[in-house]
């Protein structure tokens, strides 16, 4: 086992270095890339912390949506492909559309907790008041 700092701690250090020290020292053309890199380091820091539980939840949700039998040990990437195919074709047996939509939203929210926290504060437009 590696000694501290942890991967998440080091990624934070890299992000801080890029934002606080490197950014001012590079040309304008490179600045945008440095900002992007600092943001990626922050994404990875959150990924290290959250990807385990998120993947487990997506795994269970997807198995449940597909009705995967107990003996089927397909990994998440395979289950995702099956779910995408099934949704492309039509309804999932025994699942109403509302349930599927909410499950997909939960998966997207979990992904956003890593890639862009706060992006899910918007929940769509209110078209009932248009016209």
């Amino acid at each position: 086992m590696q000694y501290r700092p942890t991967a998440a701690e080091l990624l934070r250090d890299i992000s801080t270095l890029l934002s606080d020290e490197v950014l001012d020292q590079v040309s304008v053309e490179v600045q945008h890339k440095v900002r992007v890199a600092a943001n990626i380091a922050q994404i990875l820091e959150r990924e290290v912390q959250l990807s385990g539980p998120n993947a487990q939840r997506e795994f269970e949700t997807t198995r449940d949506l597909l009705g995967v039998p107990a003996g089927d040990t397909a990994p998440l990437i395979e289950l995702r492909a099956r779910l995408a195919d099934a949704l492309r074709q039509g309804e999932l047996p025994g699942r109403d559309d509302d349930e599927v939509w909410h499950a997909l939203v939960q998966i997207a929210r979990d992904d956003l907790a890593i890639s862009k926290p706060g992006h899910d504060s918007w929940t769509g437009d209110d078209w009932s008041r248009v016209s």
Binding site: H32, K33, V36, A37, N39, I40, I43, T62, I77, R80, A81, L83, A84, D85, L87, R88, Q89, G90, V100, W101, L104, V105, I107, A108, R109, D111, L112, S115, K116, H119, D120, S121, W122, T123, G124, D125, D126, W127, R129, V130, S131
Partner: protein, 333 residues
């Protein structure tokens, strides 16, 4: 930019005005990889400014999407119909001036950088006005008789606009390196809720949104970047500036971060446009989903080595934003 370009434009302008003209103060305004955009003054022999102008050019013909003369012709039609867009002095594909095709237009002052545009709009309280001006501009554009458009303008076969949008999206979806249940679900929704083919196909701009607008204290001054203009469903055009990313964090103001939908719709209809909520929502959803597939494609270009940059790599990690937005477009608040 080189003196050769100044010399080339000067030569073209001298022929245009029928007297010797020089170019001064040439300033490149975008760092776009493809197009050259520059501002300059045309002066006569005495050094008196004749006109303040803008240049749009391509470095060569290879990267041309459609002839710049076609784009210029559409812009002139739009300008004559009252769509705010810089008047074109002329366009040419004659390589002898600058080694690439170009057109020259009048120069219009104002703000174009999205966040600054929104700040300006907020400071002057003109968000609703800008939306109304956009709605009216679209109505004028969409009422131009498409038969007047140049024959070379991209146009789908009559009655295939919706169909080809779906087929194209399906093809993009198949290219994903990792399947996306959310996008698959979204595309199925789009297929099941497809609108009828539009009653009228019209000239569309295809990329009107904050970032391609010149805005001043008076509101909308000009619509820029007509590179993607073609014949299509007018509802696609009016939906595009409403896609969430073009709101630049003003999520509660669907029309480009400027205003709510009602005044935009009302202005479009008042100026003769036909608006159908379901059809606009459908294009809004499709535009959102396609943007997500476009971001995925950027990351593929990075991964394949075709275009390696951390910026394109990061696009792959933005895909979940568009999955979420697509799902929200399907239901809404």
């Amino acid at each position: 930019m080189s003196n050769n370009i100044e010399e080339g434009i000067g030569r073209w302008l001298s022929e245009h005005y029928g007297k010797p003209v020089r170019v001064i103060g040439l300033e490149r305004v975008t760092a776009g990889a493809r197009r050259i955009n520059a501002l300059f003054d045309a002066v006569d022999e005495q050094g008196t400014v004749i006109e303040r102008l803008a240049l749009t050019a391509l470095p060569n013909l290879d990267i041309q999407i459609q002839p710049m003369t076609v784009e210029a012709a559409v812009r002139t039609l739009a300008h004559e119909a009252g769509v705010p867009t810089p008047r074109i002095l002329g366009a040419t594909e004659d390589m002898s001036y600058m080694g690439g095709p170009f057109f020259i237009s009048e120069r219009i002052d104002g703000e174009t950088i999205p966040r600054r545009v929104l700040r300006l709009v907020e400071q002057h309280g003109i968000g609703t006005k800008v939306s109304e001006q956009l709605g009216a501009a679209f109505a004028k554009l969409h009422q131009i008789n498409p038969a007047l458009a140049p024959a070379e303008l991209h146009r789908p076969k009559e009655g295939t606009v919706i169909e080809s949008a779906l087929v194209g999206t399906e093809a993009q979806l198949r290219e994903l390196l990792q399947p996306s249940p959310a996008f698959s679900y979204g595309l199925r929704w789009l297929e099941r809720n497809r609108p009828a083919e539009p009653a009228r196909q019209t000239i569309v701009h295809s990329d009107v949104r904050n970032g391609n607008l010149i805005i001043s204290e008076q509101g909308l001054r000009a619509i820029l970047d007509w590179e993607g203009t073609r014949i299509g469903d007018p509802a696609e055009d009016v939906a595009w500036p409403m896609v969430r990313m073009w709101r630049f964090r003003n999520d509660h103001l669907p029309v480009g971060g400027f205003s709510v939908i009602t005044p935009y719709r009302a202005a479009y209809e008042a100026a003769g446009g036909e608006w159908d909520d379901d059809r606009v929502r459908w294009w809004l959803t499709l535009g959102t989903l396609r943007w997500g597939l476009g971001l995925a494609k950027q990351s593929h270009q990075h991964l394949s080595g075709e275009y390696v940059t951390i910026v394109m790599a990061a696009s792959g990690r933005r895909v979940s934003e568009l999955e979420y937005d697509t799902l929200m477009c399907l239901r809404g608040a």
